[in-house]
Structure formats: C-alpha cells, structure tokens
Amino acid sequence: MDHFRLLSFGDHGWGDELLIGLGVTLALAICTLPFAIILSFLVHWAKVSRYRILRSFGMLYTTVFKSLPEILTLLILYYQAQAIIGWLIQSVIPGAHFSISPFVAGMISLSLVISAYGSEVVRAALGAVGNGQFEAAQSLGLSPRIAFIKVILPQLWRHALPGFGNLWIILLKDTSLVSVIALSELTHVAGLAITTTRQPFVFYGLIAVIYVLLVTLSATAQKRLERRVNLGFTRTET
C-alpha cells in the first residue's frame, strides 16, 4: 500500500508534519500544567478565604468552568479576551495591537478548565494532610508562608499526585480541542493531511493510537511515581 508513502518524512509524506504537530501537542500540555496547578491552589484558597467576595468568586469560577464545554470556553476566550486586551492596550499605547496566538489562548483556557477541577484535588489533598500539621508548624513559630512551603507542601505532593495525574491525562487529550482555533497541533495537522490525501481512516486512526500511547505512558509513569512517593507509608488501597 502507499500508506507508507503518506506517512513518510520529507517532501512527499506527512510524517514530519505530524511529528511537529505532536511536538506542539506536548508543548501545549507541558506549558499549561504549571499554570493549571498554581491556579488550582489560588482557586482553592479563594474558596476557603476569610472574605466572602473571594469565596463567591471561587465558587462561581468552578461552577462556570465545570459547566461549560471546553470548546466553548476556548472560542469565547480566543475572540473575547482578544478584544478586551486589545482595548486595554489601545488606551495605553494608541495604535498598538496585541494578538493572542492560538497557542496562548489554548494555554489560558485549558488552565482555567483544568484548575476548576484541580482546586478540588488541592482541597482533598490538604484535607488528607490535616490541619493539625499546620497548627503544629505555627505553634513552632513558623510563619504561615514558611509552614506551607516547608511542612505542608512536601506532604501534600503524595496525596495530590493521583488527582493531578488524572488531570494531566485529561489535559493531554483536551489539547486536541485547540485544533478548532487552527493551532497546528496533532489533530489539526491530521485534518490538514486529510484535506489533500482523503484518507481519514489512516490519519485519524494513527493519531488515535498516538494519543492512546501517550496516555498509557503517562499512566505508567504516574504509577511509578506514586509507588515511589508512597514508600514507607502503609498502603490502604487494594
């Protein structure tokens, strides 16, 4: 079959383009993850804040981003944030135009969606560590900030790992949605290839396999990490 030619590298095949698409997919997921995790903490803190307005904001945030389809969040952000930022920039430097690239739009909207779920991972993990640890640290005279960084965070990691691991897998798959705003990641490249080659089965089948492999690889890595961080702790799960 000439399927091999379709997927070859160089000028006559789509192999190299797909590889670059895979690179963009991975880059997007990897760049988004740290922002998503930081946002998860911020949203959680907003939800347990002393201030009522912050608490309401945190609730609204999770409700909205857990209810809207990712694709809708993405479209609204891509066009609307553009208009708002553009307007702000215009009022500072007249005549200047900022443009959010699809990559950045993807990063922002995926961070928003993932952190809505992530704030719950943080809540559960903090609950598992227990408030006693924090109180003990404070009674030793540590400031809240130091207590969090030196005492809570090292213990939190173990409890948050399964949750964040799952979110990483969701994130990896959700990057495919950014193809609707024409970011040349894996799914978008496959779509372009099909436009000229008319072989949807080959290309969609291939990228499906690539995603499954990526997810399986991530899950294996996650299990290993979990085993490692849980060394020395009693296992309660079956």
Binding site: G10, D11, H12, G13, W14, D16, E17, I20, G23, V24, A27, C31, L75, Y78, Y79, Q82, A83, I85, G86, G95, A96, H97, F98, S99, I100, S101, P102, F103, V104, V180, I181, A182, S184, G191, L192, A193, I194, T195, T196, R198, P200
Partner: protein
Amino acid sequence: MKTLFKMAAAATGLVVAGLASASAETLQIGTEGAYAPFNYVSENGEIKGFDIDIGNAICAEMKVECEWSVHDWGGIIPALNAHKFDFMVASMAITEARMENVSFSDPYYYNAMRFLAVKELALEEATPERLKGLVVGTQQGAVSVPVLDAYFPDSEHKLYPKMTEALMDLESGRLDLALFSQFTAGEWLAGSSGCCEFVGESFLMDGTIGAGIAFRKQDDELRNRVNAALKTIMDNGTYETIRAEYFDFDIMTKPPYVSELFDK
C-alpha cells in the same frame, strides 16, 4: 522547521503587531488552508494555492514582506477583526452581509457555485423541484447557505465546518449533492473515485460581486494600497501568468445570478 520556529515564537507570548517600523513592513495575511486549489496546506507543511500566489504577487508589488497563517472558516472574520492578521486572501465572496463587518478589495475572480451530485441519482438538472427531499451538503458560513435556504427549502441541508468534509461525505454517499465553488469542486472531482458529477449550471449568489480580499473596516489606507497593487498585477500580466498555472480558462467572466435561474 519553520513551523516549529513560528510555534516557539508564538509560545513565548503575545505577538505585537502594528508596532513594526515602516522601513521593513511585514504584513500578516490570513487564509483558510482547506480550499484547494485556491488555498491549501501541502505535504511539506507549506500554505499554497492561487490565493497565496496572488497575495504574494500583491506583496511583491507593494514591496512588503508577507506572512501567511491558516484559520478556521467559521471564525475567520472575527479573527481578522481581532487583529490575528492584517488582511485576508481566502476566496471570500463579497456580500452585503459581510460588508457590515469587513471591507473588500475589488474582485480578483468570480467564484460561481455549482451542484455536485452522486452519479447513481442520474439527476439531469438541479432545480428546486428535482432536489426536493434530497440531502445537500455545504460549508457553514459560506454564501451557498443563504442560497440553499432561499431557493431550495425543500431539500435537507447539512452544514460542515470544512468543505473537504462535505466532499468526503458526498463520496461515501451520506450526501446526495453538495453545493460548492465550481473550481474547488472541479479540482476535487478530478481526484475522486468517479462517484460524482456536476449537475445544472453554475451561478452566483444575488448581490455577490466576486471574490475579494477582506480588510478591517477602518483600514482604508491598506485597502487602497492593495487595490492599486491588484490593478497593477492584473494590467502587467502577472495575474494572467498565475491564473494560467491553475486554470486553463478565464475566471473573470461573470456567471448568471441564482435569481436568473430559479424562482424563490
């Protein structure tokens, strides 16, 4: 590699456009990239086609650098207005509805639409009566949508995000007909398994003036420059050379309007 570099540039953050100095002006051109032979992405990841050659010829005439990017058709006008690029060469038909959101150059060709039908149906004509109850596919946001709504209300309409997706469904038999640009449909037909054929005449949507280059409404100065460059390349033979590479027939003749063929 070039794409990878661009991606890295995009990843570093917000891209500032419009701040570029006048001496080395770079313009961003947007297109769809799924509309062969006018604009498409080739095996080596390059954006190619008639639109791209025309756009580049205009840029060369204006002595500016041009960079191309592809965008989803459904959001291409908002993308232009959101400064994702400076102007659009994407075979967009000039219509009054679109002129509420963007402004257009003079037409650079006439893109008539024509029905493609599955051969098995053996349709001899494509009239509203004959198409009653049949499934017709076209692209979301294309000028063919209002035409189907107004003149073929008794057919079932299916709207696709991309033209090629509708054509794949025509080939597999999910659609009975598809309504597209006769040029793009002809290009696709030449490379298909022989499932389908043209039926009926080609026609323009009422009120369309041809395919134009689109600009933000406030960018009149840019529009005038591009119009002047377009006129130059049409007069000096550059346009003809490019046209001959893609089509061995004239694409500046104006086909009849749909209202001249059918009744509402």
